[in-house]
């Protein structure tokens, strides 16, 4: 009988000890140790996260561990501690970005190296994005372009050269990356960014003077706003007016620039509508819309999202604005829109989306949790034993959407890809007029 190598033969005189896996006490202690190691690992994971964020902000400073930067800046200490707690997201949403709260003073201290890196117009804009003064996709895009125009006018080339286009291209990239620290960049802003890049490419080939380049660029931005946002809105309103007969009851969710214009226009033509505005108290957009309509003398009813089931039987159409339309036909919009779309499809109520074409995106998403933005508009107290979660965006699937009203026409949700294909021929926007030297 050969001995198995694993067997422990108790030697004479020694007490018998149980094998490892049956020793409950030792296992419990092991588990405790492993837990402590795991927590230690989590803590060490967070300083590297902080380090990853800071290189974006401080490009010329070498990467230093956060502990060394603590004594230099007290505000930064408070920030890193607070942001460590904010970065502790729950398991299933730990992939979503959380944006730290900046004040105007703290931005300047964090980005202390080069005050020219972020123009004051952008700083103001980012703060406005953050505290909710500037929300809504169209509003944000327009404000961004206005800030960009101001930046262009104030921008000076470091040396006299004709390479304005290339230098500015770098600047533009830097700005765009910095802006991503405050809030996610929405699709409209991305499209305008691509448009400006195309303009700069054209500019590079033309050899215009610096001042002339600036003037031309600002003009192009103005044209973009005019054709893609303002004229588009007029066309959309015209298209929608054909769709909606007088006297229908419509339901509107939150606040959309296009829908507001549409309603005001409709009433100016002398027609009547019954309007229900669904409010989401978290962002307060519904009440803003109601206030605005009341100022124009338009009567409307305000209702909460949870009470919508009562009036759904009385509603004829549901109108909703968009943050962007995705390639697979899904709608990215304010959180709560998908709920409304689901109810609408159950009650067989037409669900219409108003969206300009510059908000069409080449991305595809199928659910609301893989990509989103966490809204932290309320300060929770430290002692609360629950975690609060509030998202900003919602993905509505294409089968809930009946029709999209755009300036290129009334299209079904599945045609978004085709429209994007058409635009690609023209670099996402209309053909850009090549500048000529004026002499």
């Amino acid at each position: 009988m050969s001995e198995k190598p694993n067997q422990q033969n108790p030697k004479k005189g020694e007490p018998w000890k149980p094998k490892e896996k049956f020793d409950k006490k030792a296992n419990k202690e092991k588990q405790k140790q492993e837990q402590e190691q795991g927590e230690g690992k989590q803590e060490t994971n967070q300083p590297p996260q902080q380090q990853n964020k800071q290189p974006i902000q401080q490009q010329t400073v070498d990467q230093q561990p956060t502990q060394q930067q603590v004594p230099t800046n007290d505000k930064q200490v408070a920030q890193t501690n607070a942001s460590k707690e904010q970065n502790k997201r729950k398991d299933f949403l730990s992939h979503l970005p959380i944006f730290e709260d900046y004040t105007s003073v703290s931005i300047k201290t964090v980005k202390q190296i080069d005050p020219l890196t972020l123009h004051h117009a952008f700083i103001e804009l980012c703060i406005q994005y953050q505290n909710g003064q500037c929300i809504g996709s169209t509003h944000r895009c327009v404000e961004f372009l206005n800030a960009l125009k101001q930046f262009i006018r104030d921008y000076k080339l470091s040396r006299q050269s004709n390479y304005f286009a290339m230098a500015f291209l770098d600047e533009l990239k830097k700005i765009f990356n910095l802006m991503k620290n405050f809030r996610t960049v929405n699709e409209g802003m991305s499209t305008s960014y691509l448009f400006i890049r195309e303009c700069l490419m054209i500019l590079r080939d033309t050899r215009l003077d610096e001042n002339e380049s600036k003037v031309w660029l600002c003009n192009q931005i103005d044209q973009f706003i005019q054709s893609k946002i303002i004229s588009a809105s007029e066309l959309i309103v015209k298209n929608a007016t054909q769709l909606i007969q007088e006297g229908t009851t419509i339901l509107v969710y939150a606040r959309s620039y296009l829908i507001e214009n549409f309603i005001i226009n409709y009433f100016k033509q002398g027609k009547q509508l019954t309007i229900f505005v669904v409010d989401n108290p978290q962002f307060g957009e519904g009440s803003q819309l109601v206030n605005r309509l009341q100022q124009q003398g338009i009567p409307c009813y305000q209702i909460l999202l949870s009470h919508v089931s009562y009036i759904l039987s009385k509603v004829d159409k549901i109108l909703v604005g968009a943050s962007s339309m995705l390639c697979n036909g899904a709608l990215v919009s304010r959180v709560g829109t998908a709920l409304l779309a689901c109810l609408a499809s159950t009650h067989k109520i037409p669900f219409l989306v108003f969206c300009e074409s510059y908000k069409f995106s080449e991305k595809s998403q199928i659910d609301s949790l893989s990509w989103n933005e966490i809204a932290q508009l309320e300060q929770g107290n430290e002692n609360q034993q629950y975690t609060s979660l509030s998202l900003r965006y919602d993905i509505t699937q294409s089968n809930y959407i009946n029709m999209i009203v755009t300036e290129v026409g009334l299209i079904p949700a599945t045609s978004v890809k085709a429209v994007i294909g058409e635009f690609k021929k023209y670099n996402y926007v209309d053909a850009i007029e090549v500048p000529r030297k004026e002499q």
Binding site: C300, S368, S388
Partner: protein, 342 residues
Amino acid sequence: MNTQKAQPRLYSSKESLLALKAHLSAKNAKLPKSPTIEDYITYIKKLSNRLKQGPLDFWIPNVYRRVIQVIRLMSSEDGFVQNKDKEKNFKALGLTIQRSSSRSKTTIETGAETGSNAIQQYVILPAIDQVLEEMESHSDDINTFASTHFFTNEVLLVYEYSTTVLNFLLSAKKTRNFEIIVLESETENLGKQFATDLGKHQLNVTLTPFTNAYAIMQRVNKILLGVDAILKNGGLLMHPGTYAICVLAKQFAVPVIVLSGAHKLTPKYAFDQTTFNELVSPLKINPNSTIEQMSIGVFSYITFDYVPPEYISLYITNQGQYTPQSIYQLFSDFYNVKDEDI
């Protein structure tokens, strides 16, 4: 949270039973001189009409219906009390058949040797006590089913405050590990209160506003809801917003489990959102709304949401577990058809 705010329906039912007791023992109770069981029953029906707080008050008539049913059962079987356990009842049925054949004249209805007070003493008051006891212990009976429906590391969704659901979760916590998402409605702070109360017991709780319901629904495994009333067709009257949640749940194929004590069974029928509903002032629900907010045409707030039975997977009551197709059986055991017009 005091009981009145936490369980307003249970509280009002209990209070009404105590009021009934008080009325019966009062000296100027409007009862005929030697009251029979039928007299007591009419008295109780009249009292229910008086105490009812409006056409949408179901809970006081419900509990009085139950008392009447227990009285009928107790008097017909000569003091034999109806057990909650169905199996025992079958055996007992055999016994009563034997008993009623042997005993004929000594039932209380002829009452020659017993005075009128005896009816009150031996039938009415024990009936009221039994109903009170049923209501007190309804949570314990529901909690027996606590771990049978959950698997480990499940994600549950709950909506607004419900003490029944709270007790259910606390008793399930002993054997299962799960995560809870609390949806809060926009009006009161009930959602926050519920999250705090759950968090005190070291449960993993996330609080979300109602608008995020679609986004998180894909993560949810089951939904637990408390009700205001269960109707005879299986439909439910619940906190406004529940209908939207149930519609979403059907889209995502998430089972909806309804927890309630049997005192919420209401033998009525509804068809849509407007059958049993009341538009109340926004001030009643959200006392912080300003006058400016109220004057700009805020649509009134609704009281109930009607949820059709197709959206529900299971009812767990203290009388057992039922499906929407079979819950009508509970009504015929619990109440008597003659009393449905209270």
